[in-house]
């Protein structure tokens, strides 16, 4: 079976030469891939490239559509690509204010994708929004509230509901739990792990936290200076790192 997502030679260099160099990766349906590496190693750049929010200097991104055909996202028409991104893909951002519409109620945030694909029955949209809010443990009584009044953990859960309502197959996550209290982090990770397993989601999750990578991912990519320096099964890479840099990363976590 062809992979769900296959990136080849993805390159994006910012003025100054930093960014992301010739990154290739593959992802199967239902597989969770963690991207780790120190600050500035190019993790977020890679995610933005995959989301086609950033134009690549070079490379291609092949994605297997629901009908089985494989398309290069970088040559797909804009309308088709944007539709795909907001139906079959999700993107959970570290900064929830970038991933939510802060001027719109929680229910409206969840309903937006449905309306974007043509849902025009208010009652049904509301029902779906309520259902998804419950699944991410946000009380239905809060559905008409603005996310401005939500805690950090709630905002992240709202982002998740907003993205999953169209039942995407692939979700990109950029540091979804960082900046949250430890207990809030644990609860959120639990929720993500449950939903990923239940829905069979494929995930690319960027994190600097190796514990998060270990808990959620099947495979791992280690980045340094914009390049992938090591990849493999998460447990193998973390238990028995080959690259000296990865050894350093792992040991600094152990030391912490």
């Amino acid at each position: 079976m062809t992979p769900l997502l296959s990136a080849r030679g993805l390159t994006k260099l910012y003025p100054g030469g930093r960014g992301c160099r010739e990154v290739s990766l593959e992802l199967d349906a239902g597989e969770v891939l963690a991207v780790v590496g120190e600050s500035g190693s190019g993790k977020s750049t890679l995610l933005s490239l995959l989301a086609t929010e950033l134009a690549a200097d070079a490379g291609r991104i092949d994605y297997r559509l629901r009908d089985g055909t494989v398309r290069d996202l970088l040559v797909l028409g804009e309308a088709e690509r944007r539709l795909l991104l907001r139906t079959d893909w999700g993107f959970i951002r570290q900064d929830a204010t970038q991933g939510l519409r802060m001027a719109v109620s929680a229910g409206g945030n969840v309903g937006e994708r449905l309306m974007a694909v043509g849902a025009r029955h208010y009652g049904n949209i509301r029902e779906a929004a309520r259902d998804w809010l419950e699944r991410v443990e946000i009380a239905p009584a809060r559905m008409d509230d603005s996310p401005r009044g939500f805690s950090g953990g709630m905002r992240q859960r709202l982002q998740i509901a907003r993205n999953l309502v169209t039942q995407p197959r692939l979700v990109l996550m950029d540091e979804p739990t960082s900046g949250l209290d430890v207990s809030v982090q644990a609860r959120l990770l639990d929720l993500i792990r449950g939903l990923v397993a239940e829905l069979g989601l494929a995930v690319v999750i960027v994190t600097h936290d190796l514990a998060v990578a270990r808990l959620l991912s099947h495979r791992i990519l280690v980045m340094k200076d914009g390049r992938v320096i090591e990849s493999g099964l998460t447990d193998q890479v973390l238990d028995d790192p080959a690259a000296p840099y990865t050894q350093l990363l792992v040991s600094s976590v152990l030391a912490a």
Binding site: E78, A79, R82, R101, A103, V104, S105, G107, G108, G111, E112, R113, M115, A116, V117, G118, R120, H121, Y122, G123, I125, R126, M143, D144
Partner: protein, 297 residues
Amino acid sequence: MTAMSTRGFARLASGAAGTNFGYLDEQTKRMIRRAILKAVAIPGYQVPFASREMPMPYGWGTGGVQVTAAVLGPADVLKVIDQGSDDTTNAVSIRQFFARTSGIATTTSTAAASVIQTRHRIPEHRLKEGQVLVYQVPIPEPLRFLEPRETETRRMHALSEYGLMHVKLYEDIARHGHIATTYAYPVQVAGRYVMDPSPTPKFDNPKMDDCPALQLFGAGRERRIYAVPPYTRVRSLEFEDHPFTVQRFDRPCALCGAADTYLDEVVTDDRGGRIFVCSDTDHCEERRAAGHRGEAA
């Protein structure tokens, strides 16, 4: 399209006006007419134009004034309304401005006018072929409420990504139990572009649909012109279970007895007495002249 209804366009193509007729110089008018022609060719699409400084503040509808100046010819008869009334300061000033700069005839009668510039209302009297209705528009972008980035709203228009308009209506219902937007209620034009009808009451939205007159919209500060050609489908957005409805008034006009017009509340004395009367003053007067009477008349 009938021969009559092309009249509105003929004025655009021929450059009917004389030199500096209607304040603007001929070159500027040609530029504006080109924008108008493009707007007519792509109904509901916001065409950028090089808006000029006009000798009045933006709040007075400089976009509408420039569009009117560009389409007026010597044979035209101009009517200007503000909130339905011909005699507010704004309406009188604009009418006098054109009378002074072009010497054209003016009127308060909807039926007698060939060009009507308006702020906030569409006349009650059904418009006819050959007439041009020019709207003064403060904010042309209907998506701005939820998406402030112009690069993004432009892309949304280009790709017909209009889900966000329904998010706005969704928020209305969630908050108020019904669609509480009563002004600037968004419409879809010819099944394609979503357009802000300017701050007219949604009561007037149905009049935009299949209208025999040419409708032109000018936004001065925002430098945009858009149009609805005659007999174009204009649909107000709605949900299946919350359909578009117009305001209803629970009493007829106190002066002319009309039960099908948009009413304004008018205070009649300093003891809080108030009556509801047609906001379209010309329409109300015509009806009274024809013998119709309301309870306060």
